[in-house]
């Protein structure tokens, strides 16, 4: 007999195949198991709304008695029960993350068509349906990238794709996901699928390659460069998508190395490439991407920050979900923690970590070398949650990678940091992190008035590109380029991609010494007080 399980907040039933484990079924439904279901990370928390299941030892260790009593469990530990209802923690948070899918309209066009913008992220995939005549966003769907089953981070997925079978799995998984999301968009909005003529997809270089079915082996080793990062056009038929006929799918070109079409979209969204003055675009993530430039010159780089900004590799680190400390501030010399959801703190997420370390520096609990000066070698945050010395070190490495990358690009372009007009912060973390804390720890060595959080610029740029793509493509060009679709071009985008220079930080000796230098924290946040000479 098959089992049925209710999942919230989607309010739907999930039917388990005979003998299927709960973990497999939930994974199929898009729930992430960041540590691979080894009960190490607590990333798969669920709240039991109906059904009674005794917690096992791992769960008792992870949750407080209070949490256990209110039904918190780890999905990777649960045995399925017919009729049980689970509230999926990951989705609670995602639903509250409008940053990933803001729905600002674009310029109205005249055509009565519908188009789709897709941000194909390593972790999350967001798709939007637009009415091109009005420029309005009609509908939005988001899912976790199902490739996560084959590795949480990009490098492990690239490694997985090294054999033909693994490669095919990753390609099919991501194509099927995008196809299903497009169908969902079309059906939920009730429009005629024949009126949808185009989709624009943006992602980093690995996503660009995997979606397009291009070998990712060149991204697995030095010099991490690919010659196949150009604009791609695929037909829905060749992608095996059902229910969407004659849909042209464009995959925006990459800028170089790991810097992909998502960053190109970021340029479209921020207009960095059109301004006379120099600005900076930074996407803070496991892989930090940086573009510096103006209408004359653009230089980009990617820098490996590691997972600390997402709470990874931190003793009590967790995703920005219920129970996570997401903000810390000093009030009258005391630490005040804000916890997501109506519950006690169970861990700390990236934005909370940056705040906590900024406060620790202010209190003198952490010295500029990163050493905890307290006797107990801890930064206590709540009765249950603290930071260890090792956690501070992880953050130092992450922030040094970003700060050194920015500094080196500025040096390459011979621009002082003071001369940078705007520092655009893209992506989820960049929008949740407190700017003054990011400045205090030296992650962003700029002033408050330079720094501007700009949301999900990948999606914003993909929307803008929907308008761009019209009329430029023609069949003849496609035929000429049949053997090598890299030859297909969009003039507006080509103007940018030809201008951008990719700088490989890994090969730079200067980067290494800068990186070491930037692991230190700034001495003090306070601008020197004005002391009139006597």
């Amino acid at each position: 007999m098959s089992l049925r399980i209710g999942i919230e907040p989607q309010s739907r039933w999930l039917t388990l195949a005979a003998g299927e484990s709960l973990r497999d079924a939930l994974f199929r439904a898009g729930i992430e198991f960041p540590c691979g279901g080894k009960s190490l990370c607590g990333g798969c928390q669920v709240q039991l709304l109906a059904g009674e299941i005794e917690p096992d030892t791992a769960e008792k260790e992870y949750f407080s008695a209070e949490d256990i009593a209110s039904g918190w469990r780890l999905a990777c530990r649960l045995k399925p029960q017919n009729g049980m209802r689970l509230r999926i923690e990951q989705w609670q948070h995602r639903a509250a993350a409008p940053i990933l899918s803001d729905t600002q309209s674009i310029e109205p066009g005249c055509e009565e068509t519908y188009r789709i913008a897709i941000d194909l992220g390593t972790t999350t995939v967001v798709a939007q349906l637009l009415n091109m005549a009005t420029g309005e966003v009609l509908s939005v769907v988001s899912r976790l990238n199902p490739q996560a089953a084959y590795g949480a981070d990009l490098m492990s997925r690239i490694d997985y794709a090294r054999n033909d079978e693994g490669f095919a799995q990753l390609v099919n998984t991501v194509r099927d996901c995008a196809g299903a999301m497009i169908s969902e968009l079309i059906h939920s909005s009730g429009i005629d699928s024949a009126l949808v003529d185009r989709a624009i997809l943006v992602g980093n270089t690995a996503m660009h390659h995997l979606f397009s079915g291009i070998d990712v082996a060149p991204l697995a080793s030095v010099p991490f460069s690919t010659i196949h990062g150009g604009l791609r056009r695929l037909e829905s038929a060749e992608l095996g998508w059902k229910g969407v006929d004659e849909l042209a799918v464009w995959v925006l070109p990459c800028l170089g190395g790991f810097v992909g079409g998502d960053v190109l979209a970021g340029l479209l969204a921020t207009q960095l490439h059109r301004e006379r003055e120099t600005s900076l675009l930074v996407d803070l993530g496991t892989n930090g991407e940086i573009v510096l430039g103006n209408r004359q010159q653009l230089i980009c780089a990617s820098t490996a920050a590691g997972p600390a900004f997402e709470g990874g590799g931190i003793l009590m680190g967790m995703q920005a979900a219920a129970g996570a400390i997401d903000a810390v501030e000093l009030k009258d010399g005391e630490l005040c923690c804000h916890v997501i959801g109506q519950q006690s703190a169970r861990g700390i997420c990236g934005s909370g970590l940056v705040d906590a370390v900024a406060c620790g520096l202010e209190l003198g609990w952490i010295d500029p070398s990163g050493r905890i000066t307290r006797e107990d070698k801890r930064i206590p945050l709540t009765s249950d949650v603290y930071l260890s010395q090792q956690d501070i070190r992880q953050l130092q490495l992450a922030k040094a990678a970003i700060a050194a990358g920015i500094e080196l690009l500025c040096a390459q372009m011979a621009v002082s940091k003071e001369a940078v007009i705007n520092v655009f912060l893209a992506g989820a973390f960049g929008n949740y992190v407190d700017v003054s804390s990011a400045m205090r720890i030296g992650l962003l060595e700029f002033t408050q008035h330079q720094i501007k959080p700009v949301g999900n610029t990948a999606l914003q740029g993909a929307r803008l590109a929907l308008g761009l793509a019209s009329d430029v493509y023609d069949e003849q060009l496609r035929e000429e380029a049949a053997d090598d679709t890299d030859k297909v071009q969009l003039p507006e985008l080509t103007a940018i991609t030809e201008k951008v220079v990719h700088f490989s930080l890994g090969e730079s000796q200067a980067f290494q010494s800068l990186f070491i230098e930037k692991t230190k924290f700034p001495e003090s946040s306070a601008t020197p007080e004005y002391q009139p000479e006597v």
Partner: protein
């Protein structure tokens, strides 16, 4: 006086004071009753303390790298002044490189500084080193150990390949294999049959020191 100068040199290095360290090194060389070997011992003692502070989390990369750099500069001055006996008394040869497909240099450089200061003769093969080059170097230098650095999961296969090559040539009794870098783990070392995994440069140097027989 001798004791004084040894302590002063050690303290200068632990204060990460480059100028003072080199200054005391010169004083060692100028003083009749002192030998270069004593200065080298002093530096080794200081580096052990540096290593301990790093392992305990009190010190971080910045201090580790800087101490290593100062020690290297001091050793560059001292080495020509060592007597033939002292110089010959080095602990052994270690061949080091970052595996093919990977360009990471930082951790390897820190390790090299520490191993050299600890008295090893280190041969640096550089970065992006093919498995065959490791094998050639092992044949040529007959080292006590070969150290491989790898920070990229997709490049890890090459590390296993080096272990295979060295094992096939029956060189394992003579040369131990140690691996390190972000893509390496103890489990991986066990899987490919490497002799040791080192989570950091200081531990790595300690492990190799334990192999000096």
């Amino acid at each position: 006086m001798a004791h004084d100068l040894k302590e002063k040199l050690k303290e200068a290095l632990l204060d990460l004071n480059n100028d003072a360290t080199l200054d005391y090194v010169q004083q060692f060389l100028a003083a009749d009753e002192m030998t270069a070997k004593q200065a080298v011992d002093s530096i080794a003692e200081a580096l052990e303390i540096v290593g301990r502070r790093f392992q305990e989390g009190d010190w971080f990369l910045g201090e580790l790298v800087y101490a290593g750099t100062i020690a290297k500069e001091a050793m560059d001055v001292l080495t020509p002044a060592l007597t033939a006996d002292d110089a010959r008394a080095n602990c052994g040869t270690v061949v080091v490189g970052t595996i093919e497909g990977d360009m990471h240099d930082l951790g390897k450089s820190i390790f090299i500084n520490y191993a050299r200061s600890a008295g090893f003769d280190v041969i640096d093969l550089g970065v992006d080193v093919p498995a065959e080059t490791f094998l050639e170097a092992v044949n040529e230098h007959e080292p006590l150990a070969v150290g491989m650095c790898c920070l990229l999961t997709p490049a890890a296969g090459g590390v296993g390949r080096v272990v295979e090559l060295i094992t096939e040539r029956d060189l394992r009794a003579r040369t131990k294999i140690i691996i390190g870098g972000a893509a390496m783990t103890q489990a991986f070392a066990d899987e490919i049959g490497a002799d040791a995994y080192a989570p950091d440069a200081v531990t790595g140097t300690d492990i190799i020191r334990g192999w000096v027989g």
